[in-house]
Subunit: 389 residues, 2 copies
């Protein structure tokens, strides 16, 4: 259930709130990624300290390991991972394309050999929705085909047609089965702080590659089927940044004002601000935690590599506005932890980078509320890119 | 400054409190090991949550990396690692024996090639004390020679004589220089919560290998030099458990009642209780955090390996009395994190194991206060060993 609160006068940037079974989310929002049922290196208490409103879980990974028997025994992913707030699960479609081997696509779904032990598996619209219902996420994504980049128009059109047929099957399975198969999907007594929404939401995914008419067609077909929100997919697959922005420009104008819009798998801080300016409400990305594990910290002057010699005696915190839990440590100390291969380095950098992303979203929301989003965006990007190393 | 509060009637177990510049410590006590200026996987806030009263830092490691220039720029190890409570530093002697290569011992000290890049270095009584003063620890250990096990009587006697001569040089350097070289060693304005003790304490280390008369001689010689506390060294070097206990039995009776006694590098939960029963006040050990990184969790029924299949669907916490921050997770979930190679597994197991050790010390203190330490010890060991796997 999405409520549009305010639209910025000069851009299409907007403030909204999305109500899910496990809580109300303020948008624009960034969702930390908990691929395997945990946001890497962090405790759920850390995510609460960070003000994280929702996290993302990966259907492909969780279905492989620990597997649904383990999730069922725990009564869903929330209880399994001790996270009481909203969870969005992806459909597994993207990972099948990026990780699995020997993929074979048919009308039925995708047969593949998984990346862990090569076992043959199948994901279909129905099985993806069933797994997501078993996980008990607050928001399920439909099972789509994610075309590669570049992609010729014929392939993109055929792929889009298949995604639309799969979207119908997802919707049908979801309507008919989600409440009967797993009690924790509907039973409010199992939720610590239930809201008026006592069902799993389902989001459609707009495909169509780089073709404006296909993006428009995809959006219209999905809207006709009817979803609780709409994502833009098929981006962050190796395309240049201008194509990423164009995909948003080609899709968002055809999406309804009264539903949330989600750009999947993005992005850098400037990219997210550019997309907010185009009316995007939701983001997810592994980047803040992944680059942390490579020693990179986000700052308002662009990212820095903590391993660099220049930080050897630097007594300043990573940034002036980082969370107190990280601000108490100097760059000098974190560099030492990094060089000494101490896990606390990865934990502090992950925490800091997520704080940077979540703080950016908070500032974006405030700027929209205050009617100065354009000024905020331009100033942030100017400083971020001017000094970027 | 040590104050003996109570002695158990049936054993030599005792309650005391040790005042250092950064705070008052209740004994018996366990000190988590922060080899490289961090207790592996944990944030200082975690250590406060765990009720850790003091941590240990390693002179050998910190002198190599980050090096004293970095520590000086931060004004000592407390500020560098953002830890406001007491720190004990070892002398580096043990690591020279266990890690360094091409060791050459002389009256002056030990020349060696370090384990990181093979550079030639030297540690002497004076340099060890100077490093420890620069680190600014609350308790410094004298620089000793740690003889191997087994060790013939001639070697043990010669080594002991050298350790005594080094102890005198340590004491002399410490008296003459500790306050003049590094301001953060004496300046109470640099300490968040200073106590009446505004100097670095220094502990002697009793050596003598497995020979009762040498242990007695070592204790008497060190007492004559005069230290703020006395450790039993040369244990946990590969000897069988009965030799470890015998070393304590040979040393402790010769140590003064009004100074703290520290058994270095120990031990398992039953071993620590046996040593508390013999009048030992302080312990340190890498075991709780090291075995955590191998998937082992301490329980009252002995250690368990979280990777075992039997925990796949086990919805119970690691133990009934673990910290709430860990108790919220099932064994099933932690096993999943372990199998998925998620760092949170190492963090939760490290946190839990330290909680187990620190809780054991708290229970030992309570039992001594209540006059039922023997019953507590016997019941704990009976359950721990009966079901040990």
């Amino acid at each position: 259930m999405f409520k549009l609160l305010k639209t910025d006068d000069k851009t299409k940037a907007r403030r909204g709130q999305l109500t899910t079974a496990h809580g109300v989310i303020q948008t624009p929002i960034f969702m930390p990624v908990g691929t395997q049922g945990t946001v890497k290196t962090l405790h759920p208490d850390d995510l609460v300290d960070l003000g994280s409103q929702i996290i993302l879980g990966n259907t492909y990974h969780l279905n492989l390991r620990p597997g649904l028997d383990v999730i069922r025994a725990a009564q869903g992913l929330h209880k399994f991972s001790s996270w009481d707030m909203p969870i969005l699960t992806d459909s597994g479609g993207f990972q099948v394309w990026s990780l699995a081997k020997l993929r074979k696509i048919s009308e039925e779904g995708v047969a593949f050999a998984n990346h862990l032990d090569g076992s043959k598996m199948m994901l279909s619209p129905e099985s993806s929705m069933e797994i997501q219902a078993t996980l008990g996420s607050d928001i399920a994504m439909l099972f789509d085909e994610c075309p590669p980049y570049p992609c010729d128009e014929k392939y993109a059109a055929d792929s889009l047609a298949l995604t639309t047929r799969w979207a119908k099957r997802c919707k049908q399975w979801h309507e008919e089965n989600r409440s009967s198969i797993v009690p924790w999907q509907l039973d409010n007594s199992l939720i610590a702080n239930p809201t008026e929404v006592s069902r799993q939401l389902a989001f459609g995914i707009v495909q169509g590659s780089t073709y404006a008419d296909l993006r428009e067609q995809s959006a219209k077909e999905l809207i006709e089927i009817g979803f609780d929100g709409y994502a833009v997919g098929g981006i962050s697959v190796g395309e240049p940044e201008y194509e990423m922005i164009r995909a948003i420009d080609n899709a968002v104008p055809h999406l309804p004002q009264d539903k949330p819009r989600y750009a999947m798998g993005l992005g850098t801080p400037p990219q997210m601000l550019e997309m907010i300016a185009r009316g995007v409400d939701m983001f997810d990305c592994v980047m803040p935690t992944r680059v942390a594990r490579h020693g990179l910290a986000f700052t308002h002057d662009g990212p820095i590599h903590i391993k660099n010699k220049e930080f050897e005696l630097d007594q300043r915190p990573l940034t002036e506005t980082t969370h107190p839990s990280v601000a108490r440590f100097s760059r000098s100390y974190i560099r030492h932890l990094w060089r000494a291969k101490e896990m606390l380095a990865l934990r502090l950098l992950s925490f800091h980078n997520l704080h940077f992303y979540l703080q950016l979203m908070e500032q974006a929301r405030e700027a929209i509320d205050n009617g100065n989003f354009t000024e905020f965006k331009d100033a942030f990007i100017a400083r971020y890119t001017a000094n970027s190393k």
